[in-house]
Symmetry: C2
DNA sequence: TTGAAAGCGCTAACAG
DNA sequence: CTGTTAGCGCTTTCAA
């Protein structure tokens, strides 16, 4: 079978001390309690034997696992991998590990995942999934488990969060379109159950108002999910109900669906209709119509979230913190002046 | 602090039995050792109290964690997320969890990750990273820890693997190009340290020979990594050294780089040069030149890998298994007959 | 069929 | 500064 594991007792025996002393010598935090020479001897022994502490045993004793759960809707959505990398790399700096799980925004799956994660005694959670009035989130808050939400803010609750500056992003998009001469601007808004959906929707009405423009009912469709399918469906609906010359999609995935429908209907982007996205996910610059969109600092969002969570898990603070990260408008070829 | 956890003792007390009996009653495998009524009482008590076994404690006792490590080069490469999802979902069916780590194909990182995973007592490994003569792999084999490689086969070693049918895929690509009338076909081969690089390179020479065609030195460039940058560099090199009318890239990422270089040089694809990829990753159908490529069953590869690993971890078998999954040629707009 | 007892490897409280 | 002791929650002998 598997090679016999080197245990703390082995190290202690090798160094001629009691296991407890070896334990102290090996931990940064308690090393000062040990005679310098003794400590050195223990460290040498540990090194020599290739000692690697058993985190399971440590967890059982301390109740902490040095693990954070990361709940995401779906890893295959290209928005998430860079964020997850930011999280993982930042956690790793403190020897924490991320436990990733996909929830597909499905209540049942979410409950199952939450149970599995808690059975594993994770020290904290990063939620890229939270909806308004999120059940998972409520449970975690009740049990005082550290949580950070990313790209989602929970309604009224006091939870740390990291999000892109939706307001600035949408505002920049609207300014850009108005600057090109568009006055009839429509939007495909995200689901109202997601904070990104709501905040971007609010931002666009505000942005248009700033220019003295409105958003009549015919020019708004709410997507039921941030999916290409929904992008296609919503665009079709808009084409039937409005004469808008530009469409602001709540994210890139929806925008990609829009482009499909336009092509299927024989319309050209940007000549007939301008389209914008949000997030600047992978390959948006290489589409047949390179997408004008809002770039958010994906990886940095993960980094920030992990930092805030680490602070909480390590007990360095319990202040809630809301990081709003800067965005950047990226103008490509999906936007142009409206036809005369 | 955190809500007090319901423990096995609580359940036992509630049911009026000894913890050991409760333990037996709660486990499928040992339930038959317990009086039916007693067992029912225990189960009811567990349910009522909302008992969730502490996996940490179980691990310490049994040595098994119900966890598998998944080592990938980089999660942000769109090839991997669907595979990882297949792995996660399949592991979850047996209440196993995946622990994902990115190695960036960096030796130091790999060693660090391996140590971290072993400190956490994972029960098995899925490697999407293995190179030829892989150090990590060798260690795992030596210590008899269950391993499955995906998209990589280790040279000469006896490790279970899951891979797409590289041979059939490349062969289909070559047949397709020859069928269009190409005779001067070049290739951007993958790194020779990766089995995918080697096997696809072998497959193309074999495929060309079948048609009486050769692959002179000027028509081969080896990429140092499966990256867009390398695709750009290699394409530039090919353009300088050959008059090929078609380029077979060893994967989609390289192919995307090729397209960039062609555009930068003022060449059109497919009119001037045909290009093909491999994998059919996300958005290859929506590029400005939709890519002709080979579709592999991403998610299914993950599913197969997880199944094989589960069999090994649960001790159901120790036979090594090599799954080669079927591919499909997807013809899009990056290939056409050569200019006159 | 059930209970008693031991122990996985570690760390923290307490003594000395 | 170091050793003793105890115990985290669970499973698995062994004994009754």
């Amino acid at each position: 079978m598997q090679q016999l594991r080197v245990t703390l007792r082995d190290v202690a025996a090798h160094a001629g001390v009691h296991p407890a002393t070896a334990s102290r010598a090996l931990s940064e935090a308690t090393r000062h309690q040990v005679n310098v020479e003794t400590a050195a001897r223990v460290v040498a022994a540990a090194h020599e034997l290739g000692y690697e502490p058993d985190l399971t045993a440590r967890t059982l004793r301390t109740g902490r696992t040095a693990t954070a759960a990361v709940l995401i809707p779906d890893l295959t959505n290209p928005l998430f991998p860079p964020i997850v990398r930011g999280i993982e790399d930042t956690l790793a700096e403190r020897d924490f590990t991320a436990l990733i799980a996909n929830t597909d925004n499905d209540g049942g799956r979410e409950r199952r995942v939450l149970r599995a994660m808690r059975a594993r005694n994770v020290d904290g959670f990063i939620l890229l999934t939270a909806h308004r009035n999120d059940e998972t989130l409520a449970t975690l808050i009740r049990d005082q488990i550290p949580v950070v939400t990313v790209n989602r803010t929970a309604s009224g609750s006091d939870v740390s969060s990291v999000s892109p500056d939706d307001n600035a992003g949408i505002s920049a998009v609207v300014d850009h379109l108005v600057g090109l001469g568009h006055t009839r601007i429509a939007t495909i808004a995200g689901p109202r159950t997601l904070s990104t959906g709501r905040s971007r929707y609010k931002a666009i009405t505000a942005g248009l108002r700033k220019h003295g423009l409105g958003l009549p009912t015919g020019r708004v469709v709410f997507a039921r999910a941030f999916s290409e399918d929904e992008g296609r469906r919503c665009m079709a609906e808009l084409l039937d109900s409005t004469d808008a010359t530009a469409v602001v999609a709540a994210n890139d995935t929806l925008a990609v669906g829009c482009l499909d429908t336009l092509r299927d209907r024989g319309l050209r982007c940007p000549q007939d209709v301008s389209v914008t996205g949000f997030n600047d996910i992978l390959f948006m610059d290489k589409l047949s119509t390179p997408l004008t969109t809002v770039r958010i600092p994906h990886t940095q969002m993960g980094v920030e979230a992990a930092r805030i969570l680490l602070d909480q898990m390590l007990g360095r603070t319990d202040a809630t913190k809301h990081a709003v990260l800067p965005i950047q408008l990226v103008v490509r070829e999906s936007t142009a002046a409206p036809k005369r």
